[in-house]
């Protein structure tokens, strides 16, 4: 069971180029807003027609521009959970779920309906309309409706984008639990790395309409393949650097990383855990930000106020004050080097 996608679509100046394959797992499609994630889902579901390419689901060709195959959304058997769930406001919970049941006699449909109502804990809400439901209940109705239609793949379009963070947490746990009964490819579109890491097994980063490689989720956080992937993975410090004798020198800083570099211009991404307290270098604390995980400090070299800043997360319990001089070290192995195109080039870790 797998979903293969290789499509192109032009929309004005925007060009979408999506290419990836998902097996029976949850793949996160991670990217900033407007990078083409939702457009990719719409092409797979058949709502938008790509200009060129091929979409295959379990050996069933859904779209093939060369063979002129373009199945209607109704025939694709792709479940789509929309951002606001898209429940039909004029129908009750019962009627909404019945809309998802494709075939069977009246009695069979009722039996399936009551089974789903029980499974999705919607008892007592059958006659209610979507406007009378909480966000969590709406999500359960939408999922029940989708699973009734027996999809072979499920697309989730930023399922929690409209919710408060305290609501989001419970719904996220619930969604992964309810989806655990589904066997088939699941595509989870998101711009939230935490959400992806918790719920998905692999990840594909999208940037400016282009998909990157599909990698295991852990690799995104350990060794993001591009600059934008590093940003999406939560790296905060990006410093310009130049090759020099013995490695690469960070501009404005008196720091040389012992890494080979053949390229002219590089960008060094410094993850939080690459900065260690108490080391060979000194810096002035320019700003202290109290974050949830601990205090975040903005560091600049002494006497160079316009040098690019380095951000570091202080370990729990330690504090810093503005203006204080801090000694720190850099773990060269954890710093990531990117060339001018934004591709990673340091192989070792």
């Amino acid at each position: 069971m797998s979903l293969y996608v290789d499509i192109e679509k032009r929309l004005g100046a925007f060009r979408l180029q999506s290419k990836f394959e998902v097996a029976d797992e949850t793949l996160a499609l991670l990217g900033a807003s407007g990078c083409g994630k939702s457009m990719t889902l719409k092409c797979i579901a058949g709502i938008v027609t790509p200009d060129r390419g091929r979409i295959v689901l379990n050996d069933r060709v859904l779209f093939d521009s060369e063979k002129k195959i373009d199945l209607a959304p109704q025939q694709r058997r792709v479940g789509y959970l929309f951002q606001q769930y898209a429940l039909f406001p004029n129908m009750s919970v019962e009627q909404n779920i019945l809309c998802g049941i494709r075939e069977g006699t009246r009695a069979e449909k009722r039996a399936l309906l009551s089974e789903k109502i029980r499974l999705f804990r919607l008892e007592g809400l059958e006659k209610r309309h979507p406007a009378q439901l909480s966000g969590g209940q709406q999500q359960r109705v939408a999922l029940a409706r989708i699973l009734c239609s027996e999809p072979q793949a499920i697309l989730l379009d930023e399922p929690f984008s409209a919710l408060d963070s305290y609501l989001k947490w419970n719904l996220e746990l619930e969604l992964t639990e309810l989806l655990s009964g589904f066997h088939g490819p699941i595509l989870w579109v998101s711009h939230d790395r935490g959400e992806c890491r918790r719920s998905c097994q692999s990840v594909c980063v999208m940037e400016d309409g282009r998909t990157g490689e599909v990698t295991p989720m852990e690799q995104l956080f350990r060794r993001p393949a591009t600059l934008s992937a590093a940003r999406l993975a939560g790296v905060r410090s990006f410093l310009p650097a130049r090759p020099c004798e013995g490695g690469i020198a960070l501009e404005g800083w008196d720091i040389t990383l012992p890494q080979p570099a053949s390229r002219e211009r590089v960008t060094v991404a410094v993850p939080d855990d690459a900065v260690l307290l108490g080391g060979a270098y000194t810096a002035v604390v320019q700003r202290v930000i109290h974050d949830l995980d601990g205090d975040l400090v903005l560091l600049r070299p002494e006497g160079a106020a316009d040098a690019p800043p380095l951000q570091a997360l202080l370990p729990k319990g330690s504090t810093a004050e503005v203006g204080q001089t801090l000694r720190f070290g850099l773990s060269a192995g954890r710093c990531l080097c990117y060339d001018a195109c934004g591709e990673i080039f340091s192989a070792d870790r």
């Binding site: 709502i47 789509y80 239609s149």
Partner: protein, 230 residues
């Protein structure tokens, strides 16, 4: 008092409203999907009767449907009947005049419709016909209904184009509006007042009906919200 003009006006308005309900709704639905340029041109053409003087609409209709004109002559030759100066001739006039009202209100309602509802219906396997009648139309009910009632009320009061294409023949083509004009011409104030009163009553009832329909909808929504809270 001869009630024929009332009956005639009502049947003309009712028939043209039924025609225009389907024509307006489908035009609004399909034109919204066309490329922008075509949409713009069609929009102007279809809305024109709303702003044109009814006499101009009447004149144009006579140029097409008159017994010596293209369509009129053909129908006369094939079916042996004239298209003008019969009671149903007025339907041509009212249909053209009220079409933009229905088309524009329906289009406004459809534009406010959340397309993702239609998309989610499609991915669930619902047919496009089902989505149109069971999801899109119920969601746009208010706007479509308002357009229908407005079109009916306007058809009931149409005078200019109607008088040109159907004329005024008592007991044959007389409508309320042409009757009032005729009574004024012949200085029959007593009867004219009666027809004016009838006209006002009908219009008021129609508008009241719209208001009540909206109120009932509103109340149902409110009680739903109350139940949800409880």
């Amino acid at each position: 008092m001869d009630w024929f003009p009332l009956w005639n006006s009502l049947r003309i308005a009712a028939i043209s409203t039924v025609i225009i309900f389907f024509a307006g709704v489908f035009a609004a639905y399909y034109i919204a999907k066309l490329p922008r340029l075509v949409k713009g041109v069609l929009d102007v053409v279809l809305t024109l009767p709303l702003v044109l003087p009814p006499t101009v609409v009447g004149y144009l209709l006579l140029r097409v449907l008159g017994p010596k004109r293209m369509i009129g002559a053909w129908v006369l030759e094939t079916f042996g009947t004239k298209l003008v100066m019969t009671w149903w001739s007025a339907i041509f006039a009212t249909t053209v005049v009220i079409f933009p009202l229905m088309y524009r209100t329906a289009r406004g309602a459809f534009e406010a419709f959340d397309e993702t509802l239609a998309y989610s219906g499609q991915t669930l396997g619902l047919s496009n016909t089902y989505i149109f009648w069971r999801i899109r139309m119920p969601c746009c009910r208010q706007g479509v209904l308002a357009g229908t009632v407005l079109a009916f009320a306007r058809a009931l009061g149409e005078y200019g184009a109607t008088s040109m294409i159907a004329g005024y023949t008592p007991g044959k083509t007389a409508t309320i509006s042409t009757t009032v004009y005729q009574l004024w011409q012949t200085n029959n104030d007593a009867l004219a007042y009666r027809w004016v009163a009838v006209n006002i009553v009908i219009s008021a009832v129609v508008l009241l009906a719209v208001n009540m329909l909206e109120r009932r909808d509103f109340l149902r929504g409110a009680s739903r919200a109350r139940r949800a809270k409880a």
